[in-house]
């Protein structure tokens, strides 16, 4: 099955990004396709390479970057939501790209399921 994901909450405050990550790992392991992960609302904060969690905690941002590098998962950050929150090209972690909301609608059109992770 072809999945699109929407992550609408920031890292650490909320489990949305963790759950989305686990979902992607599990879906890929089962042979499903992840068409895109779209970050919206405070979810855009998952994309900043300035993130520095304590060493004994998971690194939510680097984990996404590693996943993107290993599996070519398309990680897209909403430009309008990102600019509002100070997320710009120069702070993007590897594997993320900034684009428009059209990419979220495109996921809805082209996937079998668009799955939301958030409140």
């Amino acid at each position: 099955m072809k999945f699109g994901l929407l992550v609408s909450e920031g890292p650490y405050t909320h489990q949305a990004s963790d759950s989305a990550y686990q979902f992607v790992v599990a879906a890929l392991a089962k042979g499903h396709e992840i068409q895109r992960v779209f970050f919206y609302h405070d979810g855009v904060n998952n994309a900043t390479r300035l993130t520095e969690p304590p060493q004994d905690d998971r690194h939510v941002v680097n984990r996404w970057s590693a996943l993107a590098a290993a599996n070519k998962v398309d990680l897209v950050v909403c430009v309008a939501a990102a600019l509002r929150r100070g997320i710009k090209e120069e702070v993007l972690a590897p594997g993320f790209r900034i684009s428009g909301l059209g990419q979220l609608v495109d996921s809805g059109i082209k996937t079998d399921r668009l799955v939301t992770f958030g409140d």
């Binding site: 609302h41 428009g100 059209g102 609608v105 809805g108």
Partner: protein, 140 residues
């Protein structure tokens, strides 16, 4: 809505070529008050984009989401932009299917007359049936 050539906005189509544009049923479920969090505003931004993709878009207002449509919003005191006039502009984007949950209105002492756009008021069962018909549901 038919995806006829007349309604097709070429510049806004998804990038991939191939067969003609797919029209899916997109439902946006609005559950939050218009101010206090950004969900309502950013939901509206997705709705306007989805409309330019010529999809079959409907909006549902439920729980505190019904407050998004209330007339006479005064936001100066909290230093926020009153974005409620944008809901009036939706029909200009061919977004005309607006559904409001009856219980949510009644629990808040509101009626259809308090709302700034024409809507259909549905009970929970009707709302459930409508949701079951959708291809994509985004909940904010």
């Amino acid at each position: 809505m038919d995806a006829t050539d007349e309604t097709k906005k070429m510049s806004e189509q998804p990038t991939s070529g191939g067969s003609g544009p797919k029209v899916k049923k997109f439902m946006f479920v609005n559950r939050k008050a218009p101010y206090g969090t950004i969900y309502a505003l950013e939901s509206l931004e997705v709705v306007l984009i989805a409309a330019t993709f010529d999809q079959d878009v409907s909006l549902v207002f439920i729980d505190d989401g019904v407050y998004e449509l209330v007339k006479g919003q005064q936001t100066k005191g909290i230093g926020m932009k009153n974005f409620s006039p944008s809901y009036r502009a939706l029909d200009g984007y061919d977004v005309e299917k607006l559904y409001v949950d009856r219980n949510s209105l009644e629990q808040r002492g509101l009626t259809e007359k308090d709302l700034l756009v024409p809507v259909e008021v549905f009970d929970a069962q009707q709302m459930g049936q409508l949701m079951a018909q959708q291809d994509v549901i985004l909940s904010f």
